[in-house]
């Protein structure tokens, strides 16, 4: 695979660097909404001080990896299904075969590696931006003390939550690239097959991400099971 590292880097740029724009925008709005909603909820109990920690845990454990996975699916997963599907129906994939180039190694493997590596990083970006946005709303608009927000954030969020975020990100990256490549590679017929592959990729990836999120949360030793250990 080392000789194909250029392909991996290109896919890293396509999946990771190019997706950072929409990730930043989505994270900013997501964090801001979280800041508003949690503040309103905690205000009922005079527990606004818990806002920072709650936003942090929610982002690290669930929202950041899931939202990043869905955003990357919409942007990069659909694109790779369309790209590979087009190559398939125009027989470019067969041409690669004829030239003794393994299409799986050339088209699929770099995308899967890039997806597995880049989505965790994007998830951490998402968390950072959303946390800042949440702090901006809570402190700038609602008048909360930033020191309280960040102190609670550091107090409540644990290093294991960071492991959650990156593990789930890697799993989602692997899933969405696998589904995208599979649907693209399976495309048969005319141009409509490309559209079908794209649609199937987005639908299947989103559902698979939610399903895998449930499974990881349920069965990872540092997921739900951590409650059993501590209780």
């Amino acid at each position: 695979m080392w000789k194909r590292r250029g392909l991996v880097l290109k896919q890293c740029e396509s999946i990771g660097v190019s997706s950072s724009g929409i990730i930043v925008i989505a994270a900013a709005f997501m964090g801001a909404v979280l800041g508003y909603q949690f503040y309103v909820a905690f205000r009922l109990f005079n527990a606004e001080a818990l806002l920072g920690g709650t936003v942090g845990v929610a982002l690290f454990r669930e929202l950041a990896p899931v939202m990043t996975g869905i955003m990357v699916t919409g942007r990069a997963g659909a694109a790779m299904a369309a790209e590979i599907g087009s190559m398939k129906i125009s027989e470019q994939v067969d041409a690669l075969d004829v030239m003794a180039v393994d299409p799986i190694e050339f088209l699929v493997t770099p995308r899967i590696i890039a997806g597995t590596l880049m989505v965790p990083i994007l998830s951490v970006f998402f968390t950072a931006i959303a946390s800042l946005a949440g702090a901006g709303v809570a402190c700038g608009v609602l008048g909360m003390n930033p020191a309280i927000y960040w102190t609670q954030y550091a107090k409540v969020v644990d290093a294991i939550d960071l492991v959650h975020c990156t593990t789930k990100g890697a799993a989602f990256g692997l899933t969405l690239t696998l589904i995208g490549c599979f649907n693209g590679y399976r495309a048969r017929g005319g141009a409509s097959a490309v559209g079908l592959a794209t649609r199937n990729t987005v639908v299947a990836s989103c559902l698979a991400i939610l399903l895998i999120d449930y499974i990881l949360t349920s069965f990872l030793p540092f997921g739900y099971l951590i409650l059993k250990v501590t209780s």
Partner: protein, 548 residues
Amino acid sequence: MNPTEASKATTVRVGLFALFGLALVGAFTVFVNDKPYWWRKCEPVFISVEDATGLKTKSPIRSLGLQVGYLDSVELTETHVRIGVCITAPIEILPDTRAYIRGEGFLGDKFVELKPVRYVGNVKVGPRNRHEVPPAPVTPAPATTAPATTMNSSDGGRRPSSNQKLVKNGLIQNEMLMNPVKALEHKPVEIEKENQPDTSELDHDQQPYRVDSTFYQVLDFLVPSANAEDTSNAKEVQVGTSNRDMDKLIEQSNKLMIEMTDLTRNLKEGLQPKELRETIQELNKTLKSAGKALSPEGGLNSTARRALEKLEKAFDAMQQQMERINRGEGSVGRLLNDPVYADEALKAMKNLNKLLNKAADIQLFVRLGAEQLPAYDGGRGYFQVQIYPNPSRYYLIGITVDPRGRRTVLNTTTTADGKSTAVSSEQIEEGGLLLTGMLGKIFWNRLDFAAGALHGDGAVSIGFHLGPNGAEKALTIRNDIYIRGQGVGLNDRFTILAQPFLNNEFLGSLFVNGGLESFRKYNGKTSAFFGAGVTFSDDDIKLLFAFK
């Protein structure tokens, strides 16, 4: 350009992106870990001790049970050991602060405890001072602590400071005590109060806080009692703040040591070393053989009575020795001083521990039950013992009274005129006892395979434990494939066994079961059965298996 190669711009962009991501992960790790010790600002303090056994770099420095810093360096000087300590919490070393080397339990790591100290919160601690102070005489400390130590706040060893602390008679003194006139030149640390309005008239909830406050200011806000300046409702408890108190404590500990020495000397009388050695050796042998009985290759069927008799003998002998000790004839001191006794005692303890561990691993269940089989117009009663050497393997042995009776096959070969005729006849003995003996293996606490003889028939069983986690056997579905000889082929017994109260202390031993004795019809009837029983863990039998 080769399509498999990335451009330089792509490489740089991806590289920077990945680096930024990793930096973000690192920053988050530091932030959410509440700044690990190597990240926090360090206030160096030096402590001189005569013995630094057990201390190593990064050992915690504690005060009142909380970590306030870490041990930065341990250096050997001409006459003592100098320990460099980094204080990371906002505390102030007081004139009467002393250092104690303590251990976490008997076997735990060593750490240094400082007390008393003062929490200064948002008070700025003065510039880092580094001073060398000549070692001072050390007063013996209480038994569980190392001697009191010299302590110096320091700043690189460049110039002396008014914060310099000395030790006199084992107690830390500072310059204020040694030279009051000069000490007056040193102003105490000041609390930052500028730009803060007078909030004494406001309720606590209304008191403003500074937006640019530090981490500890936030703590003060959240936990007002943590602020050392807020003493209005606080009750002050002095811990060793007086030199006189410490002297008294040390004197008391010395008295205690003298008394313990006298006690040991008084006990060094009368006990016969040979007898004690033999007793311990005998006990050791017994325990060792009991341990072997529990090993996989050990004979579980050996006589338990013999082992119990030997153990009783050993305990009798031990009791006699103990009585002599109680009468003042014993010598605990000799026992402790003789390495032979110590070795034997150690072996005995090890074997006892092995025995107890193995005995604890074994699970043993006794099952008594009855089933009604309408098709056979009778009932089945059974007694079974299930032995689990470990949770994933078991032996099932038992006896059954079965309405189907004990089946005996008689093969008769008759030879007439050179021709052999074989006749096979089956005899059923009603009321005969049937044997059960199976070897089972459980996978993932759920899947149960067993093979052997079940109610007198050769059988292979597969079962599924479907109960909730932790009580998997609350519901079991089981299929036994067995050979009965009624017609050609195999019989299938399908059983559902429910122990709904498995986790209940009183009702947990009850179970009900039901199913089909065989999928084949018997006398034109479906051979269903239903029954109930009781399962209990028998610790007495377990103990018998433990000794041979």
